[in-house]
């Protein structure tokens, strides 16, 4: 029943992207998302899209899976598109209905915004699809570790994220089981009005909370029994190391940033006609 949620899911495969260092992938996605909002020209958009296609090809992810992730945000996309198209002003009017004006500028902005959102979601889901949750949090911990000097609990934050991620499938399974068990007793979760439906959730939520607390208790006990005492002095099984592939990907990322900056500074101001500035 949770089959359609692809955001945050890991897709096991052996590819160039899967093998990259998680730190690099996290930085890459952040850079990409910032770039997506930075870009103001068609050429820039083409560069963004080109990189995305190259990464998807190198990741060996089925395109179907990535498109399925879009399903989760199509409502958001639609609303964003409508708002931007009709409410962003502009001079070149296409048509007008009461107070709603559709302009060329507005339409352009709406298309750009929709593409940006799609790139953003796709970029983020490629990160989680190609990186196991464990190495993802490992990467986050290492990236945050310089902050430990200003007393930021990097290890604790990463540990909490690891535990949260670790328990998502468990709790989903548990939810599924409780839904089934209560349905077996004649409960129905999908009929009646709002109040009836809200009430129907009680037989689901109470056991789920009880079991979440029980699991938390058991896990805390098990961690203590193995002498867990936070990050201080703890060594790790898999030490993250940058390799040849990461160097290559880093260079690609740097080139990409360079292209976006040049596009933004040079093309957008010097040749607005070719670039199609917004």
């Amino acid at each position: 029943m949770f089959k359609d949620i692809t955001i945050g899911q890991y897709y096991p495969a052996d590819s160039f992207i899967h093998r990259l260092d998680p730190r690099l992938k996290i930085i890459g996605v952040m850079v990409y998302i910032i770039a997506a909002f930075f870009v103001r020209t068609y050429i820039g958009m083409a560069v963004l899209l080109g990189l995305l296609i190259a990464v998807v090809a190198a990741s060996r992810l089925p395109v179907r899976l990535i498109l399925r992730g879009m399903k989760a945000i199509y409502v958001l996309l639609f609303i964003t598109f409508i708002f931007n198209a009709f409410l962003s002003g502009g001079q070149t009017e296409i048509f007008k209905l009461w107070i709603f004006r559709l302009t060329k500028e507005g339409l352009q902005r709406a298309v750009f915004m929709a593409i940006r959102l799609m790139l953003l979601i796709t970029g983020a889901s490629i990160l989680t699809l190609t990186t196991t949750p464990i190495s993802l949090t490992d990467g986050i911990e290492r990236l945050l570790s310089p902050l430990a000097r200003i007393r930021f609990p990097a290890h604790e934050v990463a540990m909490m994220m690891t535990i949260a991620l670790r328990f998502i499938p468990t709790l989903m399974e548990e939810t599924d089981r409780i839904i089934k068990a209560q349905s077996a007793r004649g409960a129905s979760f999908d009929e009646g009005g709002l109040i009836k439906r809200a009430k129907a959730v009680v037989p689901l939520l109470v056991p789920l909370f009880v079991s979440a607390f029980r699991r938390a208790d058991e896990l805390a006990m098990a961690m203590e029994a193995r002498c867990y005492s936070g990050g201080e002095g703890r060594t790790r099984l898999h030490v993250l190391k940058y390799g040849k592939n990461d160097a290559f990907a880093g260079v690609v990322l740097a080139l990409f940033v360079g292209m976006i900056v040049v596009d933004n500074l040079v093309f957008a101001s010097a040749f607005p006609f070719i670039a199609g500035v917004l």
């Binding site: 077996a184 007793r185 004649g186």
Partner: protein, 287 residues
């Protein structure tokens, strides 16, 4: 009326790297009133199979008919089906949610739309049947002991008076005393209502004791199907599937290896005792 499965298959997450066939061409008929045990290694498809009995899962292919209801029809009367087939999940005590035991046991009958008096009567009956005192009715289910919680959870299904009672490892994690109590309450319900009972279990001694028929699942297929005597006599095959045989079958095998002529089909303590007494084995006497 009976449960009829024809070439039922179930595939999890088809067309993905997680694709997994949990059931492959299972054909079965379980007549009314039979006491059936389903055994099998972890991941053999037992749990998937029993969830098909009350429509929680739909087969990927094949035909299922349960108590006259066709589960492959376009519109399956699920509520009616679940009234007929009661399913007790593994560790059912984790599904308790109401403030009082009474309300929790009444959840099923209430969903059936019964009258207040009828519900009250059924709750009382179910609580007595599972061997709990009526004084627990006003208690919170979370204040009970583990064994009591499980009995309350089973009462919550029995109160719906199902024609078919399916239990997924109802004795897992209980001490010998608790196991006997749960099994005897299941037997009591069966005697009283004439219901079909389908029990998933790992405990071969209990299965040998109580079941009329044993179905062995292996890798999503029915590997063996017959009386406990028939099934457990194939101890080599059972072991190759990662399953145990009853203690007494093991003992009979050992005695045979030492040269004693032990007949096939001894699977319970009682049978073994009878045999040894008839043989007049030294040290055994009828006292």
């Amino acid at each position: 009326m009976s449960i009829i499965l024809k070439e039922v298959s179930h595939v999890y997450s088809p067309d993905s790297p997680f694709e997994y066939a949990a059931l492959k061409n299972v054909t079965l008929t379980i007549p009314d009133g039979q006491y059936v045990a389903i055994i099998g290694h972890t991941g053999s498809g037992k749990s998937t199979l029993i969830q098909h009995f009350n429509g929680l899962m739909k087969p990927t292919s094949g035909q299922i008919n349960v108590q006259g209801i066709d589960l492959c029809a376009k519109k399956v009367p699920l509520k009616q089906l679940r009234r007929k087939v009661g399913l007790v999940f593994q560790y059912p005590e984790y599904q308790l949610f109401e403030e009082t035991v009474e309300k929790d046991v009444a959840f099923g009958p209430k969903n059936m739309g019964l009258s207040q008096e009828e519900i009250k009567q059924r709750v009382l009956e179910a609580i007595e049947l599972v061997g709990l005192d009526v004084s627990v009715l006003s208690m919170s289910p979370f204040d009970l002991s583990g064994g009591q919680k499980r009995r309350v959870a089973i009462a919550g299904v029995i109160s719906m008076r199902p024609e078919v009672l399916v239990l997924d490892e109802p004795i897992a994690g209980l001490d010998p005393m608790g196991r006997r109590e749960i099994l005897s309450l299941v037997a009591a319900y069966r005697e009283k209502s004439g219901a079909t009972v389908i029990l998933v279990s790992h405990n071969m001694d209990d299965v040998a004791d109580i079941a009329q028929r044993v179905i062995v699942m292996n890798k999503g297929e029915v590997a063996l199907d017959g009386t406990p005597q028939e099934v457990f006599s194939k101890s080599e095959l059972m072991r190759s599937m990662g399953l145990d045989v009853p203690q007494m079958t093991l003992l009979a095998d050992k005695l045979r290896a030492r040269g004693m002529e032990v007949p096939e089909g001894i699977i319970t303590e009682k049978q073994m005792l009878e045999f040894l007494l008839d043989k007049g084995v030294a040290g055994c006497s009828r006292t």
